[in-house]
Symmetry: C2
Subunit: 461 residues, 2 copies
């Protein structure tokens, strides 16, 4: 176990001297937000530093190596795995002030942004230029592009467009030793040396501090059409998903909500949900105006043939907004209705979703919790929201979580589709990765960060 130095007065004044005093967040209220992300975990930083350029990041990391204190990079704080929390103390390094969109190159379909730019802000800015940055994590009005890259965030659009890693051409980062590095290219293709870009993406701030990104943009789809389909059984809903995809359609979203979620938020939907409904599918397609209307009709026909009880086309923006708002409200309502709330974001091959969901009642009974399931049916990424009305019996709950994750692995799935490991899931890592894989990854970490000062204690158990 590495011994880290506490942030002494000496260290603090060295930081002030090297970075300037206005970087330090001293106000107790202002500091408070840095002890949390969107998970239930809480760890208080010894010091919070908000940098304005990558040179300050370099200086801070050099001091960290000299004095051996942890530095924990932080974007918008919307993560769900505790990845940006100072679990071993130290300095939280916020990138929030490095939030500039440096350029949007319409001829080359490329944007250069600072890491702290808010994802939604970028999406809005480029939309005006008819360009599109597809990754759409649920927290995108709070999350930063740098944080999205650090966690390889994704959202509903993944089924068609992939995740953040698919839209990052190159990175500017500061290595744990304080030296800046530029990875990747400013072109769509490039095979020069090892793919450090993708190694940094998803490394949850443990291999380097991402300070800038070169993003690949695509033309903004000119139209979107959607439908909501209610099914009386979850397997038939999932059969519809498989059928739609294997018949050659590539929707820009295929979301589902199970019966428990519908019971919780059904009142917000712009249509009635009959009592016998077991699943709601929200399907959208994007592309050329005429094409999307035709395609959504064909998709509705597929759903109908498989037995959708109700089909509600939603092509006008207000209806679509309402439906997505419901999708977003689910987590909040689950949270508000439960004393204990654990959000797992497993993914399984889509043909195995039904098998997994069918097993949930068994786990609920055995371990005494209630599971709300919703998520991205199109890519098999299912949010299992494990809840209880009591915080007693935590041991039993944890055993239940492990049992569910074990079933997920058995179904060729992964324990985290999009939230990452961070602090929250590191104890489960050996369920998915072999000892050899973990050994190799820890050695890679050592190459980048021999003194283990950058976001220590994360990912690896």
């Amino acid at each position: 176990m590495i011994q880290y130095s506490p942030i002494t007065e000496e260290i603090r004044s060295r930081i002030v001297h090297e970075l300037g005093g206005d970087c330090i967040v001293d106000d107790a209220d202002a500091k408070k937000v840095y002890d949390r992300d969107a998970s239930e975990l809480r760890f208080s930083p010894e010091l919070v530093v908000r940098v304005q350029d990558s040179d300050q990041v370099s200086r801070l990391l050099k001091l960290a190596n000299q004095y051996r204190f942890p530095v924990i990079p932080r974007g918008g704080g919307s993560g769900l795995a505790g990845g940006c929390l100072p679990v071993l103390g130290g300095v939280v390094l916020s990138l929030e002030r490095m939030n500039r969109i440096l350029s949007v190159d319409t001829a080359n379909l490329v944007a250069e942004v600072q890491a702290g730019a808010i994802t939604q802000t970028l999406r809005d800015a480029i939309q005006k230029k008819s360009l599109f940055f597809p990754p759409d994590p649920a927290g995108m009005d709070q999350s930063t592009i740098g944080g999205n890259a650090a966690t390889n965030a994704g959202g509903p659009s993944c089924v068609k467009y992939g995740t953040t890693k698919d839209y990052v051409l190159g990175l500017e980062a500061v290595l744990p030793n304080g030296r800046p590095i530029r990875t990747g290219t400013r072109t769509r293709k490039g095979v020069v040396g090892y793919d450090l870009t993708h190694l940094l993406i998803g490394s949850e701030g443990t291999l380097g501090v991402i300070t800038g990104l070169t993003l690949k943009l695509i033309p903004l789809p000119r139209a979107v059409a959607g439908t909501s389909a209610l099914f009386t059984s979850l397997p038939s809903a999932m059969q519809a998903v498989t059928e739609v995809l294997s018949k050659g359609h590539l929707p820009s979203a295929i979301e589902f909500l199970d019966a428990k979620c519908l019971a919780l938020v059904g009142d917000l939907l712009p249509f009635d949900v009959p009592g016998q409904t077991s699943a709601l599918l929200i399907i959208e397609v994007d592309g050329a105006p005429q094409q999307v209307d035709n395609e959504i009709n064909v998709i509705q026909q597929i759903c109908h043939e498989i037995g959708a009880a109700h089909l509600l086309p939603a092509s006008d923006p207000e209806q679509r907004r309402q439906i997505w708002e419901v999708r977003r409200q689910v987590s909040l309502r689950i949270h508000d209705n439960s004393a204990l709330y654990i959000s797992e974001d497993v993914a399984v091959p889509i043909a195995h979703i039904s098998a997994l969901v069918a097993d949930l009642p068994k786990f609920e009974k055995q371990y005494g919790f209630k599971i709300y399931a919703f998520g991205h049916a199109g890519d098999g990424n299912i949010h299992l929201n494990i809840t209880s009305q009591t915080r007693n019996h935590l041991d039993r709950v944890e055993k239940g979580v492990a049992a569910i994750l074990s079933r997920v692995i058995q179904l060729d799935g992964t324990i985290s589709g999009e939230h990452g490991i961070g602090e929250a899931k590191k104890k489960y890592l050996p369920m998915e990765l072999s000892a050899e894989s973990i050994r190799l990854q820890k050695e890679i970490k050592k190459v980048f960060d021999p003194n283990m000062i950058l976001n220590p204690g994360k990912i690896f158990p």
Copy 2:
């Protein structure tokens, strides 16, 4: 400099003992193909071993560590950078017998293949199931999926669909220490630990021997439509490319041939090429039947407005085949017509293609060679085929190549868009990567391969 052991009789008999004698390629004629790839480089292996399973790969690598001899993994041998050649001697490890398509899962849109499966064979097999594996490197009737992953190969479809890395969900590989590893997931999403999948992809067989791949497939586009547009100036052709992309179209191919290439292969085209033609664009779109015809009309209109002299729609498969055959014949004819032939595959942001191509006559004059330019205009990946009628003055040619690559970097480009570094381009690596980046990559190599037995002498100068 590491001292490697020659392949002694003892080593040979240990290999025979551990792997079985029928792995060894002894016939001199059969062995001959292993001294080359599609570049002009030649290096003779001391021994050629064709394995049938990953266990044999493990055994060979363990012996390599014990005796310190180089092992060089090889797929189809269609590379253009010498990546699979035994530049420091040793054993060439051919994966060609591990060529099975293990499963094609139509419900999950996933295929499991052995690394030695031929790319075209996979594409044909899944096409029957209305599925599509987009990466289309020129040598795909010879290249293997494993080799494509090792070099992150791409082709014309990259502009819409990306490269091999975008279709690999997970890998089975044998590490240089002989231990097997499984990376990635069998799902479309996954963020569990570092992205070893992408680290191995494009590492040109220096970090592990890829033995199996889990591939992401997509629905087969139901229709393709194309057009050939002739322009009297190359900048106007490139303006058409930019205009098409920034107006929201995403063609499945945007290829170009310059005037010199047209002079060489114009006779093969199914239409006349007027004398004043400076560039040919080949544009294709894929998707739903009606949509592609509409879209190609709009694209033709854009080309017309920018000044395309001739526009030749090619929607029937035979016309399309002819045009692509011409595109493929270019390299062969250039090769046959030149005593010296160096193929560079630089990429620049698409808006900079014109600037680069405009500079070529200056380089030709100064360094005394002739450059044929063609390639993937849609992603800025330009093949500069540098030729001469003499093999004298090689020094001068090399200086010219370096000057061109330097200009490419100045234009925010990369020295290799798709061929990789291998042996051929390693001396140019420091033009693009910083000393810190190279240091880091060499340390990663050491973590994977402390004895430097796997494909040594590649990538890094």
